[in-house]
Amino acid sequence: MAETNVAQSFTERRLGSAADLKLYQEELLAQKDPQQAEVIVCYGTGCLAAGAEQVEAALKEALDQAGLDTKVRPLIKTTGCRGFCSRGPLVVIQPEGLFYQKVKASDAEEIVQTTLVEGQPVERLLYQDPQSGEPIPREQDIPFYKKQHRLVLGRIGSVDPTDIRESIAAGAYQALAKVLTGMSPEDVVSEVEKSGLRGRGGAGFPTGRKWRGALKAIEKKGRPVYVVCNGDEGDPGAFMDCMIMEGDPHAVLEGMIIAAYALGSEQGYIYVRHEYPVAIKHLDLAMEQARSLGLLGDNILGSDFCFDLRINRGAGAFVCGESTALFTSIEGLAGEPRPKYVRSVEEGLWGRPTVLNNVESWANVPLIINNGADWFAGIGVPHSTGTKVFSLVGKVNNVGLVEVPMGTSLVEIIEEIGGGVPGGEPFKAVQTGGPSGGCIPYSLKDVPVDYDSLSKVGSMMGSGGMIVMDERDCVVDVARYFLRFLEEESCGKCIPCRLGLTRLREMLDDFSKGKGTEKDVEEIESLGEAIKDGSLCALGGSAPNPVLTTLQYFRDEYLAHINERRCPAGICKELISYQIDQEACTGCRTCARLCPQEAISGEKKKPHTIDQDKCIQCGICLESCNFGAVQVISPALVSQKSQEAAS
């Protein structure tokens, strides 16, 4: 991002009042010429991994060479995640809003020449409508974006998160100014209550009620009270909070400052996992810049309200996303949960009243204050208001970050926004809510995605991970995957979670080898219930969900493993064999060359065969075959066929 020391240039300016902030925003806006070109390079994780840095460097060089530095403002801008990760690296040219995807460094010169000099789009870099094949030049017309309602992600992708002036120009801290000038703490809490906002971390506890609870606890116990942000996002396949912290850290800060005002808190903490270094860097920079402008720290916006924040880095334990484990971790103890029969709002961090909210919940607060509770409550469905950000991953065409109103149906998200499963088949199941959530089958595709509907079908909202699966995903394998993850992440404090998850996983291991009886299916369910009921915290309390929901919806597939010794998806290694279709094989030798076991033999241009004794079922031949000649079958069929061949 822009390597200027922004904080330094603020030392002479301190915003002394809400009016001063408004003035500053107007000044910043006046400095911008809306007609001047702007080249935006997405610096989200997906785009960075695909080479956004190289693209940015090449674009810079091409701009220098073309001598366009006065016509383009600023030279290049890098922003947080624009969401369409599978199409990265993304480059957007403003003010036209031209959307270039899968940009390579070698495209830079052409973009500068054709678009910036000649004013024409580079057609081959535009997104093509998958149905008609027509190029779609503008972002807002692309189906992936069209159906979305980007509020929390509103500023992400258009502002440089390392420069507070960009965010202020785009409206950051206006909600804080509104609160400080015209709203009492009571007004703020009732506004959040009225909005119906529920915790975006997964459980969906009403945020306003939580704040109200803290106010009541303060009446009893007095201050200090703490405001804490949970940025320990750890679900496999989920990255919404990371992208919010990286792309719009000021939204999170503003939400927390507003809550601190409402509760009379002087100190807050942001708990971010160590694996998110960019998020930590951007939050840190945002805090530094906000402090120097007088938006954080002592006498915020000239008032007598003082509040400061610090970042606590997690050391990588998934369980520290659980509220009480997060508190013990901040307190400097081993990150283990405590039983919470007394709520965190009464007895949280250091035994004091504490309000802990998730990153996305905090980012929603300024929106509610700015636009009003009624506006917010009008989005989504009753009891699940507002929007929700999902990370849409797995077997889906448009992998990325999407934000939709609550109550949007699963099928709309996966097929209309996500573009469906590659190959056009319907999806098999969707895992929502990460390792604590459940698998929802295609037959329930019309279920509206809101807190209550998801729990009704046995899953949960979770923090917003959405993993799409197709017919090549085995539910036993998926359940084992999540259990292995949680088994490693269990803190080991209570017995049901520490021992139960390993034992449950071992029982599923047997299934994947074709061992087990129908009685074992019932035993798995019984152990799953015992772990849910008996565990100390939500990690163990929800760990059996992937197993229990797949058993509920895909029992036949489990039974096929043990009764027929067959894995219908063709995944469980002990239950499958690879075989080459003698008709379809062209003898190209690709699979034979790649096979690590040298199990494939055959002359060039003649059909090949696989030596079953050497084969380790790695599947490389299946992936590498260009003619669809490699087939997955169960071992029983192989021996049957070889017998037939022998006779």
Binding site: E487, K493, I495, T502
Partner: protein
């Protein structure tokens, strides 16, 4: 006085009591492993679970930490409760097969044998942490602690070296519900030979 019901029997408790305190007052049996009056409860062993019911609503909680409230309806031996205890005991049978306390409790809940693989037939520690809490809260020296995480968790001293902090009071051995600390004393104190050499220095 707080009034509620345990197994449909009306009981009275004082504010600040837990469900377990009340049950013991009335002689209602709830099994525990990691509970001891001398230290703060921590909710590790989960054997003391009970079921709370209110109409159709029901929830399983641990009685050793659940604060009493007026109108609670507590069930100490419901099917859900028994299911949790049965599985815990079956898993403990394979984890610490040498503990006679576990064998006795397992029998009480009809768990005759375990289907799970036994890694160490000599093992008897259930990692309830009672020794660690006693060492910290009662003795005040914290010579031992929980080391590691998840399935790798063990009781140990810093860096697994014999600890000077240990005052040889034997409290950890006394509170241990399974007798596992007896086997571990040398780990904490060092072998007798090295211990003498150590004190000579």
């Amino acid at each position: 006085m707080i009034e509620f019901k345990i197994n449909d029997q009306p009981v009275e408790a004082q504010a600040g009591w837990t469900v377990l305190d009340t049950a013991r007052q009335y002689g209602i049996h709830i099994p525990t492993l990691c509970h001891h009056e001398a230290v703060e409860p921590s909710g590790n062993c989960r054997l003391c679970v009970v079921e709370l019911r209110d109409g159709d609503w029901s929830k399983v909680v641990i009685s050793c930490m659940y604060p009493v409230q007026d109108g609670l309806q507590v069930y100490t031996d419901s099917d859900r409760v028994k299911n949790v205890r049965r599985w815990i005991l079956e898993m403990l049978l394979s984890e610490c097969p040498a503990s006679s306390e576990i064998q006795r409790l397992a029998q009480e809940y009809g768990v005759e044998q375990t289907r799970f693989a036994i890694h160490d037939p000599e093992e008897d520690c259930i990692l309830c942490g009672l020794c660690v809490r006693t060492c910290k809260e009662v003795v005040g020296v914290s010579a031992i602690s929980m080391v590691g995480r998840g399935v790798h968790k063990v009781i140990g001293t810093p860096y697994m070296m014999p600890s000077d902090a240990c005052v040889a009071c034997g409290s950890c051995v006394t509170v241990c519900p399974t007798g596992a600390m007896r086997r571990r004393l040398d780990l904490v104190r060092g072998e007798p030979k090295t211990r003498m050499a150590h004190s000579a220095v």
